[in-house]
């Protein structure tokens, strides 16, 4: 049974509220959280997919020194995507190559299973023309091609340029 690598966490954030939002501070916090969707929050090891249950930890915000912004501590429940090495995930194949198998997790996160992580007894079937992708044939006779689902084990996370990619392995299956 594949994991989802989805976790619910409660985080405390120290946020600023612009003067123009002073009459509706909750709206200001919501706008801030909206902009954090699909981003990585500080001190959270994962990607924020959703948030809920915003509450203020203080009765009033502070205006400090010469800044016109107000600052306040806020507590929010967040849903994060946080795959870990060894997790079992399922993805939909969207690219097949002798070099690697490309998948999408939850329809949005890319995963890649490089050649060295594919079992040695699997066979790559060359395409008839250069326009086609070809397919992988598993040791038990299954054919892997774009559109099929595939379970794999997380082998690592590649997080660069604000993007998260999952490196997978099939070596044990």
């Amino acid at each position: 049974m594949p994991d989802l690598s989805l976790y619910k966490q409660t985080v405390d954030l120290y946020l600023s509220i612009a003067p123009g939002h002073s009459r509706d501070p909750l709206n200001a916090i919501q706008e801030h959280m909206d902009s954090m969707i699909l981003s990585k929050l500080p001190r959270i090891n994962g990607i924020v997919l959703a948030y809920d249950n915003i509450r203020f930890l203080e009765k009033s915000a502070k205006v400090m020194y010469d800044s016109p912004f107000s600052f306040i501590w806020v507590r929010v429940d967040v849903l994060v995507f946080s795959p870990k090495k060894g997790d079992c995930l399922e993805g939909k194949i969207n690219l097949v190559s002798p070099s690697h198998i490309g998948l999408l997790i939850l329809g949005i996160f890319n995963a890649s299973i490089p050649r060295k992580s594919i079992p040695k007894d699997w066979i790559f079937i060359e395409p008839d023309t250069t326009e086609e992708q070809g397919r992988w044939k598993t040791n038990d006779g299954n054919i892997l091609e774009p559109g099929k689902d595939l379970e794999f084990v997380v082998d690592g996370i590649q997080r660069e340029a604000g993007l998260t990619m999952v490196q997978g392995t099939l070596a044990n299956s």
């Binding site: 690697h100 329809g107 490089p114 040695k120 066979i123 660069e160 604000g162």
Partner: protein, 599 residues
Amino acid sequence: MPSIISSTNPQYINKCVNNGTMASSTNVPDRTVGSKSFASSVSKNDGRLMQQMLRAFVNKALDDKAEGNFAGYEDLRRQFAAKSDTKDAPSSLQLQNLLSALTCNVSRLDSSNSSLVMSVLDSVWVSRDESFVRCYTRFLGNLISAQSNYLPLVMTMLIQHMLYRPDSLAIHYEHAHMALKYVLELVPRAHSFLYSSILEEFPYKDESLLAQMTYISNVLSICEYVPSIKGPVLHAIIDKIIQIDVEIQVEVDDDDEEEDEVVTDDDGTSNADSEVITASTLYERHTAISSEMTSSTILTPPSLTDTRQLMQQLDQLLYTLFSYLDSNLKSTSRDRYLVYNSLIKSFVNTVLKTFRCRYTQFLIFWASQLDPEFTDIFLGVLTEVCLDPSQPYTLRLSGAMYIGSYVARAKALEKNTIQIIVNMMTRWVEAYLDQCENELSDDLLSKHSVFYAINQSIFYIFCFRWRELCVSDESESMEPRPNEWIPGLEILHRSVLSRLNPLRYCSPNIVLQFAKVANHLNFMYVYSIIEQNRKGIFREGFDTMDAYFPFDPYRLTKSSIIVQPFYNEWQQIPGLDDDEEEEDTDYESSTVMLGESPF
């Protein structure tokens, strides 16, 4: 070590294949050959054999590099780094075959091999044949599917191919769009980089019209297959256009004659509805425009060239945007509300806050009249900006001027709508007078500027829309019976007699025109107040409101074809001109040229 491609030594080829086999006992091609050899045709076998040799070559080059021997790797990289017009440049077919081989090894192209990837990304590809472009596209897709760290580079490269180049053809942009679609399909998170890449590559405003048009039309094409960025892209384009608009105004203020000398554009204008806007279509238009601009430049005196070119540039950019919006705001378009709301947002965030922009606001002027619902949304936004006391003063003044100009000039407005807006404004005036009339203050103009702006807008609307402000159902406007006016207008009597005295502080041009029209229609007689104010001006000084009406007549010839059907021109008032001479004699009021708008 010579390249395998250029080598004619059969022994070397055999040696390479053998080494490949030995280096990687799990090499895929070998087993495939064994299982497929009897089924393959001769020609397929030849192609397949070439592919296997090249894959082996690439594998060997990467293996050697890992062991410290860079010769094969550098040779491979140089194939892609070579200038395409030099004698020893590899052919498209050679590069294509190498690309296919690389595509099968992308999982090995990590950051330690980034110089090779850089060379491939920098190589010429959009101008090659279809087969090559498809192969290159597959390489890009495979690359970023396996190695996410190259994604920003790939996105930047693809967006840069949307820019104008002297030797570009329409098909080159189609190739770039095809690759971009494929990349976005494989890696959904690439959307995060798309908008920032588009902003990054935007041409500067002083670049040629052709450069501007090419890029904007390509970006609008991207919006067709990435609808989620339509809003932000529209905002960015309007931002660019308004910078040109404002710059023209600076120059036009210096040289008023310029505006009258706008060259008529003879380019045949087809109905925007009948054409689907694509990069190809717009690109072909650009080419025609480019030749026109060339001849125009030659014939124009140098001192007038810059402003005239900016005017043409602005006209063409606005026309492009009008055409694009026209196809997106049709009643059958599924994005119409999203696009319209993005326009409103751009208007509120940018246009409304830009002092003295001249033409950009006509985008919303035109769009808001396409549907009564759009009109309501726009008027609602303007009313909210203008009458909300929590909004900054400058924004409220701007909002008042926009309401006045829009209600006066928007042809599609219905009588009922005009009456509702005027009643709303006059109710505000009444409430304001109740609250502030008895306050003692020395500096009336700055303290009550919103009040004066709203009164000025009502005066302006009255001059243009008095017919719609009559309650009478008679079609004949000059019945013996005096006009009945909508109830809200009654407050103007109180306003002009109040201590705040709007006739003193509103723009003299508008005040005089209002006085003339109001007197002629027997609405009210205000000349005595004006005369008193005139005496006061000698004592107190000459401060008055600005007379800025954003929807003054539109002069950009090409795009005016779209605006004109929605524009309410000034109409002569029946009987008023006959009395003009007599009035001049009696009251020494300003003379207005016959047939011309008094504003």
